[in-house]
């Protein structure tokens, strides 16, 4: 079997139709196969992170050049790195998924306070999104909480950190949201299986 190399890539570009096509075309033309991908748009800016596997002869420089060539000069900020399969020291390799929702009037420092508290507890943020309703902001975080973290104490610490800023927060196991939103059997959710 031919040896392969894998790269992780992120791209930041002003949003417009055709960006995904430009990126995936460049990767395909280089003989790559996309393994993981996540994309979002924030305030008119497109951002994507992906991993892709190539034949051994591929290089990060060549891939960078191929993707850059599909955008007007200076438009896209692109980072390509060799994929490191082993998690670095300190990364969470197992844990429980919790959903953090924090909400209140927007002001500087909310995220620093919240994420600082999470970092002190060794919590990894897997996904983070926001929603504005006038001056009110709601952040939703998908967290991996190490199994040895006392969730009740962390919830209390988050509350103590955020309430002086006028922010409310809730932290709940993801299964309560899955049970009330998905149609698969509750038993399957508890067994860690996803609905078909």
């Amino acid at each position: 079997m031919e040896k392969e190399v894998k790269f992780v890539m992120s791209i930041l570009v002003a949003d417009h139709p055709g960006i995904m096509c430009a990126i995936t075309s460049a990767i395909t033309d280089q003989g790559g196969n996309i393994n993981g991908i996540r994309q979002t748009v924030v305030e008119g800016y497109f951002s994507i992170i992906l991993t892709a596997t190539f034949a051994a002869a591929a290089s990060a420089e060549a891939l960078h050049a191929a993707v850059t060539a599909n955008f007007p000069p200076g438009e896209a900020a692109i980072v390509v790195r060799p994929y490191a399969p082993v998690a670095p020291d300190g990364a969470i390799t197992g844990g429980t998924t919790y959903i953090l929702v924090i909400a209140g009037p927007d002001r500087p420092g909310i995220l620093r306070a919240a994420t600082g508290c999470l970092a002190r507890h060794g919590v990894n943020i897997e996904d983070w999104s926001y929603h504005f309703d006038g001056p009110q902001v709601t952040y939703i975080g998908v967290l991996t909480v190490p199994r040895d973290v006392a969730v009740a104490a962390m919830r209390e610490a988050l509350g103590a950190t955020l309430s002086p800023l006028g922010i409310t927060c809730s932290l709940q196991h993801e299964n309560i949201f899955r049970a009330t939103s998905e149609i698969g059997p509750v038993k399957s959710i508890l067994e860690g299986r996803y609905a078909t």
């Binding site: 709940q172 196991h173 309560i176 009330t180 939103s181 059997p185 509750v186 038993k187």
Partner: protein
Amino acid sequence: MLRERDILATLRMLREENLDVRAVTLGINLDDCADRDIRTVARALRAKIGRVAANLVDVCEDLTATYGIAIVNKRIAVSPISRLLEGHGGDAAMLLGEALDEAAAAVRVDLIGGFTALVHKGITPGERLLIESLPRVLSTTRRVCASVNIGTTRAGIQVDAVNLVSATILRIAAASASSQGFGAAKLVVFANAPEDNPFMAGAFLGCGEAETVINVGVSGPGVVKRAIERRLADAPESTLDDLAETVKHTAYRVTRAGELIAREAANRLGIPFGIVDLSLAPTPRVGDSVGEIYQAMGIDKLGAPGTTAAVALLNDAVKKGGAFASSSVGGLSGAFIPVMEDHALSDAVSKGWLTLEKLEAMTAVCSVGLDMILLPGDTPAETIAGLILDEAAIGVTNNKTTAVRVIPVPGKSTGDRVDFGGLFGSGTIAKVNCPDGAQRFIRRGGRIPAPLRGLGN
């Protein structure tokens, strides 16, 4: 992948609309506690309840911390105590009532059900002993709840038992006169009693159940009401079938939360999961009322013509949503209308809009029956028997559960106010029409034969 709007919708139900798990009820079979010596029985049941239920409250509190959903009541339902009284006499029933009360207190449970007799086809000595002990047991214990099943679709209605229980209700009220007859609020008289009901005061572990089981009663009248209000705000011209669809989808989500907690509690306790009871159970809090749901639908005066149809719509939609949500639906699973425990219903009774007769009609299309209704203290036993017989007739004929939980309040008359406080709420003494108009019929006793529907084989 969870969507933002799903997360926020669930959070809104939990934080703003009073979605909670109303009861996690641990069923325990006590039949193996039987002994010739009643003190040995009492010791054995204390030990068994203490052993099986030791972690119930801690597990529920841990689940609340994990999932952020309140579990309002942690309770125990035991197999019918009358079975442990066979062959005993004297103070045996009182002794077991005290033992249950102490056992419940020891494991930090607020109510324990199962001081129960199933007499729909006849009364054994143990069952008679239990029923006759009720005035003393229910007036002197805090946590013990009692129930008596006096009819089934297969057996018909045991009128002699109805007459015995009716006289007993008056004696319970008299024995607890210092608490305005509150003892009677802890007794439910059933027809077609379910064996897996998690709700008090009527919970007991039926004969066909496992050695131990976890049954859960969900709630969420506030969630359903707010869903209807949102629907009508978004689409003011919504028709009744639109509202039914809204209720159905909401009931689905509520039921799923209940099953999640039930299964988790069962797993952590190492006890089989039984059922989720879909019943919408109100509390006296504003925003946690079944009556408010009917008001949101457009019934401005509860009890007005159309109210029964609204109850039927709600009850049916809740069942349809719940049945799709879980394959383990059981218990009573409908919409409760416990008058004192629901401020909107209680208010309608005090204004004279909601009468006993209208409540009775409503019970034909929902669960459970004439529930938490205050009666004048001088109500004759035959009148109470008539109310029970009418409800039992609805249940037995329609092959559904019905029940009566009435409190004749000593010294009080129609229109007087009574306040039990807490979850039991407050209310107005209801007017009973023609209270002595059927005494000759009721005094005949005997049995009302099973309806043709009971001969289905």
